[in-house]
Amino acid sequence: MEMQTKTPVLGNYIYPDLPDASKWADCVHCGMCLETCPTYNVTQQEQNSPRGRVHLMKSIAEGKTTLNEQMAKPIQACIDCRACTTACPADVQVGALIEEVRGQLRQAMPLKGWKKMVNNLILHQLFPHQNRLNRLGGFLKFYQKSGLQTVTRKTGLIKIMPDHLVDLESVMPEIKKPVRKRYKDMKVIPAKGEMKNEVAFMTGCVMDVMFTEANQATINVLTRNGNNVTIPEKQVCCGALHFHTGEREKGKELAKQNIIAFEEAGTIVINSAGCGCMLKEYEEIFHDDPEWADRAKAFSRKVQDISKYLVDTGYVAPKSKVNVKLTYHDACHLAHGQGIRKEPRELIQSIPGVELIEMENSDRCCGSGGVYNVLQPDLAGAVLKQKMEFVPDDVELVVMGNPGCMLQMSMGVKKYGNGQRVIHIMELMDQAYQKEEVE
């Protein structure tokens, strides 16, 4: 008789790539996570809290309910900000669980119609291909420069766009030539002065198109501090957006490409909190994959956020005075995801003349969450509004280390702010160094 191989199941989780039950086993339902959760804070409903979500995900495994549209709502409403992981006495990995269950949901309820089209277009056809992203960047640049933007705004075309897209459109940074194109022909970008270390720079996909200047600043700051910088050519999108939305297979495919692309590298430096967090999680994602576990682990352990890297390896404090009052926003995927809080503050305070005004609840999510602000505009808007109540009125700059936050906070500042400007921490550092060169 032929042996039939059965796909393993876990209660009503019946699709491949099952969630890891040991993760919810750690939750004892104490509720310490409630107040830290941005979606609980705006709805005060427990199905929208970390504890409620874990309970719901567990109840699918217990057979109490199924993967259906009603259960999908609170699971999709999670911003994946990881604040609950910081608050949790038992270190329950809520974020990873949410992504695992979204993977099941995506298989149970494949997207249909226009949502499928948009999803395919963005997650499959766009993000994995840097050249296409660059071309989109080119298009956006064309949109901005050609007068088309003015046309859109004046003709009323903008009136038929949903509110949140209008808001997003209005804060889109000016598109410039990505650093990967700028340094295309250079194998190594040499350190200024004595070379101390070599690093491989992960440019990030959106980061390099939308926030080119932050990437340029990062390279400048790295070389200024004695680092030879390489930009491995085969690197691709980190896959965070794919894992967030349940496209786990595509996410894994991208992860493998990155693991290969950086196999030769010693230290991998990243200036985007969301990507950095994702790259560090390759280890967990492949932990039971015999072929990739070791390579993923080696990769993840080489990844360093730029702020921590600079503080750990030693940096030269800028010498010129920059008289500015600013505040710092802890990106969720830096503070909660990677436990990095003090290093960015140290860098900021190393600049003479800078006055750092601490923001209350600086590590409360702004509602960006990768593409969350596009998928869940109502909740993202409510979360942003709450966040903006904490931004001090009397600062010029709001400093942070994540592109998603930069877009979202720019919208926040525009809507509720006092004329503050959003800036990446590396741009601030770079400007301080440049001032010193001029003087």
Partner: protein
Amino acid sequence: MNKSVLHTDDPHILCLAKLLNGFQPILFEKEDLIAYDCDGFTLHRHLPKAVVFPETTEEVAAVVKYCHTHQLPFLARGAGTGLSGGAIPLNGEVVISLARMRKLLEVDLENRRAVIQPGYVNLKLTNQIANKGYYYAPDPSSQYCCTIGGNVAENAGGAHCLKYGVTTNHILGLEVVLPNGEIVEFGTNGISDSPGYDLVGLFTGSEGTLGITTKIIVRILKNPEGKKTVLAYFDKVEDGSQAVSDIISAGIVPAALEMMDQTAIEGVENGGYPVGHPRDIEALLLIEVDGIEAGIDEQIEEILTVCRARNVREVKVAQTEAERKRWWDNRKTGFGAMGTISPDYLVQDGVIPRGKLPQVLSRIRKISQKYNLRIANVFHAGDGNLHPLVLFDANVPGESERALKAGSECLLACAELGGTITGEHGVGIEKREEMRYVFNDEEIIAQTNIRAVFNPDNLLNAGKLFPTPGKCIEVKQV
């Protein structure tokens, strides 16, 4: 979300929704209700009929009146962090969530009181008035997220209740919606000791069986001038317990005097807020002294002397506020951290006369061996309020039942040593039967008679606090 798109034919749900004005004011789909099928006590789970989110006292009263008229069972819920099951909808209740009634209505420094809505989170009050030099004293470990309304229902305690008293000592007045929907006020304008029966006292700790609190006047205190915290590691648990007695006998009243045993230390050190406690000690004490600056150092010196006389391995005073806070975060997340060493736990809440600490701890050890389940101890040693945490795995057949029996036996030990079955978590569902360890039938009937005055139809939070019908008095009464 628009109310007009409720996909249900249930007339009660449609009517309840009409009574409320907030955003998405009612949940009734099973997948949403699952989050409300239990609170911090997870051994019983029941789905509610619906969950409603009133934002004003009038909305609460309207919902209650509706339930009363249509004889629907109902109950109130705050943050759902209770540990005895007080907010579990045993009878498919309409759950009235007070989470959206979370305003601080007034701070009256002159009269040292604050007026809050029941969904206001405990720690927020202290955070809000700290810059003015004041705080709210009761500090249950769940204070980061539990609501003061829930604290009133359970008469919650906390680490610092040794010196300052539990919730009931800090409540000056209440606005309550009675089970027929009537709105009443207890306590005259927050003046303590008003004439007539102490109804504020009766309501505080009534576990949501007499009415629903919609406004609370609390006492606030001036921050103590000085504060110092000591951490002491003991190789032998007996030495640690003896040190507790010695400190109190020496005439010191610490603000807090906490103890954790070896298993508990394993949990917190694996958890989110490790301190670096040695794992091979049998007990640690966390002792805090506060009050007038002058004299604190002497008290600390005396505590250090007592600990050394009881063979302490290491004893130290917190050098910075950050260090002190870390020690407390570690202690206060003790229950949740059990998740790192066990899939499930059952926390008990017995009280004993302080002098009996060594005896009760040795009985708990024997109970642990008898049921072959690990029991961790994290507790308020200073006031003899024990928290044995029975560790088990609900997925192993029979373990839940064994855990319940072991927990019950711990309470019996407390009762037999002259103590009682709950210090601060309440009876709820969990300790209904154990009420018999401390009350006889007549005493229980006397109390259900009081309940009947306020809650004659027993629609509000039925099945809590007193032994279940079946074996029971409520049947005999009829």
